[in-house]
């Protein structure tokens, strides 16, 4: 965890196995993430104040891409279970009830919730290559919502609910784009070749994302009108997967 300018970095979790996909709970008190300790993927929830953590999913196969519902009661996540096929599920943290949302042989992953908690956006390659789809949070049929370009993945909704940031293939370069949900109009915001992991600031006016400086992973921001670009002075090492804290962070 660090300040938005990269200063005051504090280690929350350390591992010699990979860690991925950190996600803030809506109240800012917990984080969910994926850990490969034990040479398998598992989803953990960790309380920031105490450091205590709980393994919430370690099923056979892939456990990944945790995303908190707006009321903090559920996690959407990706599981492959024993059939080896990645699909999106929701897990009620109190009751442990698991609800399956997709059932295709395609890779369905990277869920993220709409602000009203009623639908979930996710990445699917059911049409051949990754595009973004929306499905009702309690199940139903999925509708495609990205239409420009051969690759759109890893959606994150803007606070205003009207657009989403995605990883978009722009003539062979992986860049951050803003997709307007009503008409699918897509605006490419960044200019790297391996840009990824966009996250909105709470005021919706800036995106933070991961990019490359030579071989090194660094963070950068861009305003959602595409005009102002900044690089963030990073912490040591190779930095990736930024997630901006919610508006009211309680410490």
């Amino acid at each position: 965890m660090a300040d938005a300018d990269g200063e005051n970095a504090k280690i929350l979790v350390e591992s010699s196995e990979p860690l991925m996909s950190p996600a803030w709970s809506p109240d800012g008190r917990k984080i969910a993430y994926v850990s490969f300790e034990g040479k398998r993927s598992s989803v953990y929830v960790q309380t920031l104040r105490s450091g205590a953590r709980q393994r919430v999913s370690s099923r056979d196969g892939v456990n990944g891409a945790p995303a908190w519902s707006p009321d903090g009661r559920q996690l959407a996540l990706t599981l492959s279970k024993s059939d080896g096929n990645l699909d999106v599920y929701t897990l009620d943290l109190a009751s442990q009830v698991l609800t399956r949302l997709t059932e295709r042989p395609s890779i369905d992953t990277e869920p993220t919730w709409a602000a009203d908690g009623k639908s979930i956006f996710f990445t699917s390659d059911r049409a051949g290559r990754p595009q973004v789809y929306r499905v009702p949070a309690d199940g139903g049929s999925a509708q495609r919502v990205s239409f420009e370009g051969p690759y759109n993945a890893r959606p994150r909704l803007a606070p205003n609910g009207k657009e989403m940031a995605v990883v978009h293939n722009d003539r062979g370069n992986y860049r951050i784009a803003l997709v307007e949900l009503k008409r699918g109009f897509t605006q490419v915001l960044t200019s790297g070749s391996l840009d990824e992991s966009p996250s909105f600031a709470p005021n919706g006016e800036t995106l933070i994302y991961a990019t490359r400086l030579g071989e090194r992973g660094v963070l950068a921001t861009v305003t959602t009108d595409g005009r102002i670009h900044q690089r963030i002075s990073s912490v040591a090492g190779d930095v990736r997967e930024p997630a901006w804290s919610p508006y009211r962070l309680q410490r």
Binding site: A2, D3, G51, Q54, G84, S197, E215
Partner: protein, 181 residues
């Protein structure tokens, strides 16, 4: 503007996964959610003398065939961009491992799937898993039992080779066959 400006990040110290790096995690586990364990096979089989299958004895350690100069020395299967089908040359390697495992019902192998660094990370977990599953299916057809096999996908998180040129990318699109010690 009063909002607290904090950002979670993932930072990797050390160059390739598997290099040094900090020691294990600090925190206690709380009660786990339902944790279906891997069904690993039993302890590695001890080698039991010469067989007629041309492979010779198993390696010095458990299930591992060791390095004998034959086709089983190949432990990595490579894939084309966006591909998860095993090509004809690689098929021979996978089938050889399948025959080896089918002869040794207590031997186990972990199929570690990987993707190159392009595109989003969790989708790349999916590509790595698809590749592991592809190799797994071939092994099952060779008569290996499912309890002998486990899969994991690291997506783009554990590159074999750093770099963004085509050669580096192609060396990262792979499945590694890792025998139990």
């Amino acid at each position: 503007m009063d909002f607290s400006k904090s950002v979670l990040i993932v930072s990797v110290l050390g160059v390739l996964a598997g290099c040094g790096g900090s020691s294990g995690t600090a925190m206690d586990d709380g009660a786990a959610g339902s944790a279906a364990g891997d069904a690993d096979g039993g302890p590695g089989a001890s080698s039991s003398g010469m067989s007629d299958d041309g492979f010779g004895e198993g390696g010095a350690y458990g299930d591992d065939p060791g390095q004998t100069g034959g086709v089983l020395d190949s432990r990595v299967i490579y894939f084309g961009f966006d591909e998860s089908e095993v090509d004809a040359d690689s098929m021979k390697v996978v089938e050889a491992h399948g025959a080896y495992l089918a002869e040794r019902p207590t031997a186990t192998v972990r199929l570690e799937g990987h993707a190159d660094e392009r595109g989003s990370r969790e989708y790349n977990i999916g590509l790595g898993e698809r590749r592991s599953q592809s190799v797994r299916q071939i092994l099952l057809l060779q008569g290996v039992t499912s309890t002998q096999l486990s899969t994991v996908s690291y997506g783009e998180e554990r590159p074999a080779v750093l770099g963004s040129d085509d050669e580096a990318l192609s060396l990262n699109r792979r499945v590694e066959l890792v025998y139990a010690d």
